[in-house]
Amino acid sequence: MRPTQLGQEMRFWEQGGRYKILTITALLVICCALTYYFHAILEMGTVFTHFFYVPITLAALWWRRTGLVVVVFLAVLLIFSHIFVRAEAVPADDYLRAIMFILIASAVATLSEAVAKAQAKTAHLNAVMRAIRNVNQLIAREGDRDRMIRKACEHLIETRGYHSAWIALVDEDRGFLTAAEAGLGARFAPVIEMMKRGEFTRRGQRALDQSGVVVVKDVASDCAGCPLADTCSGMAGMTVSLRSGDRVYGVLSVSIPDEMASDADEQTLFNEVADDIAFSLHYMELEGEHQKAEDELGRYRDHLEKMVEERTAELETVNYELKQEIAEHKKAEALIKHLNSVLGAIRNVNQLIVSENDRDSLIQKSCDALVEARGYDAAWIGLLQDGKNFVTVKCSGFAEDSSRFCEYVMAGTHPPRIRNALARDDIFKIADKSGECGGCPFYSECTGNEIAVVRLEHADRLFGLLVVSLVADVTADEEEGELLKEVASDIAFALHDMEMEDAHRAAAEKLRGLVENIPIGISVSNAEGIVVDVNPTALKIFGYDSKEEFLKVPASDYYYDQKDRAQFAKLSKKGSVKDFEARFKRKDGTVFWLSTTSVIPITEVRECQLINAFKDITERKQAEEKLLEGEERYQRMVANVPGMVYQFVLHPDGSMAFPFVSESCRELFGMEPHEIMRDANVLRDIIHPDDGHRFYRSVADPAKSPSPWGWEGQGTISGEERWIRGISRPERQANGDILWDGLITDITERKLAETRVNEEYRRAEFYIDLMGHDINNLSQVMSGHLELILMMPDLPSKSRKHAEIALDHVRKGAGIISSVKTLSKIQSGELGIDTIDIYPAFASAAETAKLQSEDVRINSNITEGKYFIRGNALLYDVFSNLLNNAVKFDGHDIIEIDVDISSSGDDWEIEFKDRGRGIRYDYKKIIFNRLEQAGESAQGSGLGLTIVKHVIESYDGKVWVEDRVRGDLTQGSKFIVLLPKGG
């Protein structure tokens, strides 16, 4: 169905069709009612059929041939109403009327159809015109080729109702350029790929080869192999080339309904659209070429304009340079003229500088030269002393007697200009004569217009002033200033040179005086090695009275050993000789040592090939000999020392070395000295690793190294286990090295002895411990039984006495054992040291002491938790011994002991004061030492206070005894204990 018919069909139902049906239905109902009314009610054989033509005409107009159904219904109604309503035969008129119904309806339907076709044609042509207009508008509006063809495709399917459309463009060789589509989407991609490969669809290829529209009825069957065959199944296709003149730009292809494809108007339209697109492409091509030509033209124009600008600039530069050159040329001519004058003045002054040696003559002639060569009106030069006062003044060009002027200047009364020039650093100034020469008595004689003052300076030294009076035709410009500066500089240089000459002469005189008096002998030899001059010191060294006498003696007579002379001659031929030591003979034949240094003079001096400076080194040589003897003695001593003498150095970077080891290292380590000196680490292989680490740790941190330093370790030397010991005193050197000078000895024998002693000591310790325990038990048994005996009430008095004596001795024996054990513990250090409270030990000891007698009073300020020391359990023994002694040796019925504790710096000071019979002065000194008590008639075993002293010393404390009342031992004793604070 064509789209227009389809559209009508839709409108039939959707746009008023319902009202038409209702209208026709209403009319048919009226027709039926009329028929029934006439036939049944009026019982007439004729019906008012004119009304019937209303629905008949309307149905035929609206529905055309379909409307005949209504006609047939009315014809049947008319005929059959006779049969069924009236039950009579149908009259012939009504047959005719029925036939008329059909004929009229057919005629109206035919006419209606013709009108509809004409309307459809008009609509189609309108659509065609719209499509052409749209495409043309697009062509006129779009400047971009790809966008134009894409939108053309979109317009075709929008305005023409085409199913799809695509355009492919090719170049002149029919190579694929680009493509656009509408209605196909991704399905078009294979076609593009195909065209890129140079292949076209069959109808596309045909369209390219011929003009006119290529029509295919069914794309699916006619274009087998085309990627779009399936997509366009059931559709017809139209394809046409896009041609303009002889140029083929591509193809336009559409898929459309079959009936449209066969329409000639459609094909014509399609062709026209294609022509318009081709024209547009042609136009774009021309536009592109035109634009390209314009761009090229623009570039060429820009290039030309740039060239013109460059040439113009070059011409301007050349013109400017030419003008500059002319100006420079003129300037140079003037300068040359000026310079000739300047050079004349400088030349004259320079000639003077070279030729004149006299200072006054130099400055006088310089003034004359300046006046003559430069035509200055007048010139004067004044030389300064100490930078302030003129001492010499010379002038030229003065009309009157110049001596008066010179005196005036030297008198020190200067006009402002001169004062300023002396004070300031500006070299050249033009004076305002009227303003700056005011007061000068020679003002009227100075006929020049301007005065120039220049400082004579060289090497920051001001020698004086050069002053000129300029005549009218000389301009005081910069060039003139430069000339005067140059002349002044040359004169100053000459003055400086003269000064240097004077200084040089003075220095030469001074040097001569020095050579004459220097305490070093100096001689001058000629090319043959003959001495041609000597100084007085040289004569004195050799014992000669005069130079003439010395110079007569041949050189061979001075030398003690002729080999030395030959050696010196050989060395001096090569150049300078330094510190050549040899023995010589004096005039009286005594032999002495000289150290000679010879130099070849820098400047050539007549008969002076070599200058020799020498000094008597006999004393030093004798000292060296003694030193050598000492060295030999030292070497012998080192060789005989029982061990290896060494020098060990630790460098700041951590490296180590043995700069020296004695020969004894062979015996000690089985190594040659050079092996150890070459590599200090060789000893590491000998020493046991743990000892080695200890050694390196002790030397690696010098701050922690003891001084003197000592180390002991074991090693495997020549297959044997040996002990070695190193001792030295480290010293830090200026370069940061640490130097150890020391001795390593084999201490294996000593170590073995020590081991044996330690074993013996441990064994003794064991015996003491065993004995202490067992004897104590025995003592306990004996004393216990003795006490039980003594408890017997009927024990004879004699037996009681024996038992008491036995008990006393058993207890003394137990006390000795206990003391020996305690001393042993102190020596072994087995109890260690810790922070402890003093109070528990003191309290316990006080309780024990109180048991010693009936009325014991111990007064103390020691409290718990307040006084801590570094100690151990033996502190009880200290307090117990001191308190028990105080009780034991008191002798009073009431025993009173004061124990006071106080702080004394880092220590606790505890005083034990008793009221006993006191201790003699000489006994106070030995009371704490059991060994020194041997032979003394002291009470007790004496071990108690020895234990006190040893325990306290093991705590780094002190103990001593004084009189409780100073100077009166009968008032009792005071034991003072100092214990370092703990915690």
Binding site: H773, V781, E787, V810, A814, S818, K821, K825, S844, A873
Partner: protein
Amino acid sequence: MARIFIVDDEPMLHELYGEIIGFNRHEIVANAYNGEEAVEIFREMDEPPDIIIMDHRMPNKDGVETTKEILKIDPNIKIIFASADTAVRGAALASGARSFLSKPFAVADLMDAIKEMVAG
């Protein structure tokens, strides 16, 4: 009258303790000759003693350790430590012993100590 347990490795001392304690009308209820034996006997006793007299240096287990173990079993037991080794005085008292007697001690000291234990 106190019931006393003697712990000492020296048989002669057991004998002495027996004499002294009997003299003062107390009763020895058990004897042990080393620390382990003492702990074992103490554990098996139906009625614990009033006082233990404890030596320090003994085979197998010393007096301080034995004191600690016994006090773990019965914290109220009263122990008199009797040793020639004065250095263990602190450790003995710290382990829980009520009194320390340094051998050789006087019989009176032992009796005073027992009296104090009984009273306290």
